[in-house]
Point group: C2
Chain length 320, copies 2
């Protein structure tokens, strides 16, 4: 699908991605919780990507990108810059295909994140903690190795992979009035919007975003891309800003973006820990926090909520 | 089944309990985790009673006791003394049958526990925080109301209910070489031992117990009941000691009890949070801690581990 010259996946691309990645990813459960339904005043079906491999939906997009490569291209490996879930996802996706992965990571990234990526067999290339150093280091790695760059979200194959989660949710949950996902760079939200528009056009697509990184809400309101400057939130997976590609998909398919406080995120996270007994990361809880913040928008409806990941830094929450 | 004059449930009693409680309890999932298998050197199938109603296997025994009552007896209600999972379990089981529940609770019990029990509609009767006050207050409540006392573990109907978890595990997991449960008062362990001996006699039954409350291990070694004096462990569900009834079942059916440190319990709990994304309470982690402590006993085998509950006091782990 092309949108004003921007390459985006179609529903058919997302369906093809689903077939391509099915042997490699978990079909995560769609779970419900009566106590949470009572708390938010609607019927919620949670798509549990916190139970996905590497603990996040990012494994879908990374796997689709890696498995889409021609054999000769794949053999040179894949590369990215990330210190988050995408780095782990790409590392494991490359390992599964048996090809190298190169991950450019700022030298001040927490040891636990370096170890997780290295644990999946990726080669880590440290760089100064600036955007310029990250990009120049990545360019050098790609030039030296011939590796294929897989962006965390600004890539049609990645967006198609992320869209497969909501395809499964709509199959497993039955008809939904609305679905709500987190939005950071917009890969998950773009894929969700395209997929839902294709298979369930009456299902409204919403996103939720922390107040400390609310570029998507501001961009949608203004009609132009407004990147976040110095984002600050406990939702460490949502610090990035939209790209022109994801913004185009979101303008076309997203009915609204609710902005939530970090306090609402923590309250939602605690509810999930206590009532569902599931570990979810703060970024994964913005959707539920959004339902709690804007109850009236979905009152009495059936709503899908995507738990995007479960990689909590327990050391920050839980002092041993 | 009678053992030296002690009334214990038979396999048939446990199977009847399973039919009786099936409409009311969750058939909890039996889950596996490759990262944990690699960490402990055997294949583990986890019975997830942390996902049971009220967050603990205790709901099975309480439901079996409440649903076993004749209508006239049930109408007068049920009573117990507990500040833990049994109190919540009995409160909900009574609510589901539409009969009153009376819970004697020490006046210094945490507010969060009082609220949980009250939230299921039980009447809470505070007492001084001594064993004598607890027993005399319970006796008074029973005399005044005619309510039926349901002991947390020293009751054949409760033991039969707890034994249903391992019946399901053996059905869902396929053949197991061994199964390991926590042991506090011994209700779960007794029911597990009787059920496994009946349907899978080649499956060894083990228990695990924290070092700060190791009365079951000491009793089994000595051949006589040795209650814990001033037990001290983070496993707040395992502070109680065996009764003559549960000791009799354990002597007959349990192959061994492994004693674990609180540090091993916390390491196991962290592994479950990080790799399975499941919230489990410390008491639920002694089985996995036992496998980590005594790897050689089950190396390469298929082992069932019962996660007994998920009611973590997040306030203690997680300072907001």
């Amino acid at each position: 699908m092309s949108h004003r010259g921007i390459d985006l996946p179609s529903l058919a691309d997302i369906q093809a991605a689903h077939q391509r990645i099915a042997p490699f990813v978990h079909r995560t459960p769609a779970l419900t919780c009566r106590a949470i339904d009572d708390a938010v005043g609607c019927q919620v079906v949670f798509k549990c990507e916190n139970l996905q491999k590497v603990g996040a939906f990012k494994y879908r997009g990374a796997t689709n990108a890696v498995q889409s490569l021609q054999e000769a291209d794949a053999l040179r490996g894949v590369a990215t810059h990330s210190s988050g879930n995408h780095a782990q996802a790409l590392a494991l996706a490359a390992k599964v295909r048996g090809v190298p992965a190169y991950v450019v990571m700022p030298s001040n990234a927490p040891a636990v994140k370096r170890e997780a990526v290295a644990g999946y067999g990726a080669k880590i290339i440290p760089c100064e903690p600036t955007l310029a150093a990250r990009e120049s280091t990545l360019a050098r790695v790609v030039a030296e190795t011939g590796a294929h760059f897989v962006h965390p979200y600004d890539d049609p194959r990645v967006i198609a992979g992320q869209g497969t989660a909501v395809l499964e949710l709509l199959e497993d949950a039955g008809p939904l009035d609305a679905v709500i996902t987190p939005v950071g760079g917009g890969g998950l939200l773009s894929g969700t919007g395209i997929a839902a528009a294709g298979v369930a056009p009456s299902c409204r697509v919403y996103a939720a975003e922390p107040a400390g990184a609310d570029d998507a809400a501001r961009s949608l309101a203004a009609g132009v891309l407004i990147p976040s400057i110095e984002p600050d939130t406990i939702c460490d997976g949502l610090l990035t800003s939209l790209s022109p590609r994801t913004f185009a998909a979101i303008r076309e398919h997203v009915a609204g973006i609710v902005v939530v406080s970090d306090e609402a995120v923590m309250a939602a996270m605690r509810l999930v820990f206590e009532r569902m007994k599931l570990v979810v990361e703060p970024s994964a809880c913005v959707g539920l926090a959004g339902l709690m913040t804007r109850r009236e928008a979905v009152e009495g409806e059936r709503v899908g909520v995507v738990f995007s990941g479960g990689n909590v830094d327990l050391g920050r929450l839980w002092e041993e």
